[in-house]
Symmetry: C2
Subunit: 397 residues, 2 copies
Amino acid sequence: MAASLLLTNVRPMAGPARDVLILDGRFAPEGAAAPAGVAVEDGGGALLIPGLVEAHTHLDKSLLGLPWYRNEVGPRLIDKITNERESKKRLGMEPQRQSERQAILSVANGSTHIRSHVDVDTVQMLEGIEGVMATRDKLADLIDIELVAFPQSGMMIRPGTTDLMEEAMKLGCEVVGGLDPCGIDRDPKGHLDFVFALAERYGKPVDIHLHERDTMGGFSMELIIERTEALGMQGHVTISHAFCLGMPDRAYVAELTERLAKARIHIMTTGPAAVTAPAVAELRRAGVVVCSGSDGIRDTWGPWGNADMLERAMFVAQRNNFRRDDEVEAALDVCTYGGAAVMERSDYGLAPGCLGDCVLVEGEAIADAVASRPKRNLVVKRGRIVARDGACIAEAP
Amino acid sequence: MAASLLLTNVRPMAGPARDVLILDGRFAPEGAAAPAGVAVEDGGGALLIPGLVEAHTHLDKSLLGLPWYRNEVGPRLIDKITNERESKKRLGMEPQRQSERQAILSVANGSTHIRSHVDVDTVQMLEGIEGVMATRDKLADLIDIELVAFPQSGMMIRPGTTDLMEEAMKLGCEVVGGLDPCGIDRDPKGHLDFVFALAERYGKPVDIHLHERDTMGGFSMELIIERTEALGMQGHVTISHAFCLGMPDRAYVAELTERLAKARIHIMTTGPAAVTAPAVAELRRAGVVVCSGSDGIRDTWGPWGNADMLERAMFVAQRNNFRRDDEVEAALDVCTYGGAAVMERSDYGLAPGCLGDCVLVEGEAIADAVASRPKRNLVVKRGRIVARDGACIAEAP
């Protein structure tokens, strides 16, 4: 649903105050005449930024709105995966309802786009996919949601999962997911050959969780680069987390970075504080697109997360020791333009002709907004107001 | 100023709901009868936690309330130190006013105690000390503030600074500070001999900023341990930041940890995301007291910080990959009891007889409050309400 809206007295990217017109869902050229009777919102001198992009989360398994979950899970990755798979029914993690709750919180906090990984496994089968698809359709006027079919529990180690992955793509998932080809799935060639073949068969991009550290992660990354180039999928592959890019061997990381840039593979980082992490400035200097996301929000993995991508920009900045204004601006760029590039949205941004997806927020400067993270004054999706004063127009179930 | 207050329907440390009575500024035993006419506050089932402790900040040089400072400072520690010293006058960083602004924000967010390092150097001389002391006295009924005389620009490399440090102690600073004996002051023996001699002369504790990494930091730490033991200052020495305890050589770290525990030296960590950092769980298991603080808040070093020690507990938790409820509870313990122990407050806590310093905050569990960080419902200092609904009773200048 496209609408027209005149935002008066706003400061695009902290620049001089001016009026901004959205006409039939797209930004009009500066100075274009507003049609009679157009809806008007007084921006009060607030910052105008493009819609925030939540480029990595798990809508299907948040615990938002459910009773407090006392977390007593073991320390290994596989402990968390197993515990989650076995807890879903018991805890009432109904994918449609939970994804709607989280997506509405995202809208309230200014996100206009979400890429969500959604579990596909032999226990839950395609219930997660179907639930999040229902939310995607229900909230289509509020936020763009795309689904990554995500084999959270592994594929090679859990027979039957590859068939379900194919079913998920037939149902309409926008992206093929993958996960730790060595660390979890124990068969990097088998795992990646399947992921890339599926992507080729359905003409869809790839987004692979890669928690593997150091040289094991580097090895998996090399295999991903080789397949991306062999299949001509440059620009359509994302590696999420990529902890290995924070390894101490910086010469090897520089080599991997160069190869990632050449293959136009994107990197998603949450700015994690406790593990080695990609160096955002280095990647961007090399020409690699970097995006970010909340990852899981209040789930069985931990209590963290609030779907606020301005706060995420702060985490990314702090993880990378960004302090200067230009550095903090780069962190916001990761959480806006970076995510939009990864989601292959060509009509994203504040330029004339782009879709009218934007956020009004108080702040003296971009870095002020990122550091202070006040409630969003206004969130606009294709010219329509979808949140005001930190509250979405839709109520969470 | 001590007062009496009956808090009804509160959940101490997320336990069962009950009434809590503060009599003449101290917690009364459970079940003690409330005197007629005592002030009553309905807690509405909120969590009751002890007052938060901001155990490491720099009240004298926040930019709160001043025009936006566009940060274009160089990357080295010495760049930030030099830039700050040379910018204070130009930017209007008047120590009394700025410290009052920050301290009032701390009260609003539930801190009842602050340990503030305050710059002592040959440019600003003792103006910072005098300004923060004025704030300490002005806000004495709202929050306890103690000052660390802090040679931010070095002592051995800046002649005249040691005399000023001695003057600061004569004026009534509560703690002797120090800074990177190797990395900044280039004379570890000279620096530490002076710091410890001054502390001995005035019978005061020591708190030393140690940003030095790896074995250089380990060397400085060894020198600090030696002096602590030689002077019988066990329990009265804190090492702030202690980045070196995050070094890869875990056998050496284990040895240092054991020596720190034996010398009863405390560690302050902000939970920094971008540098190696002390492992909080390991230190606590070894018996080392760990506290935390915001460090600089919105200053010339960076835009970060909001004086919210619940948010700080989140940073400490995330830096240490704490996810389980018991782990997040430990992070809050660092930001409450840990800080109080470092500030040598024997009458701190929720037990009968302790000073009535506490915070009411919404949350289903401790980890919920730390992850959600809602505005504080009520902040109480010695039985007196000093903040309500996120606002301090005193207005910032």
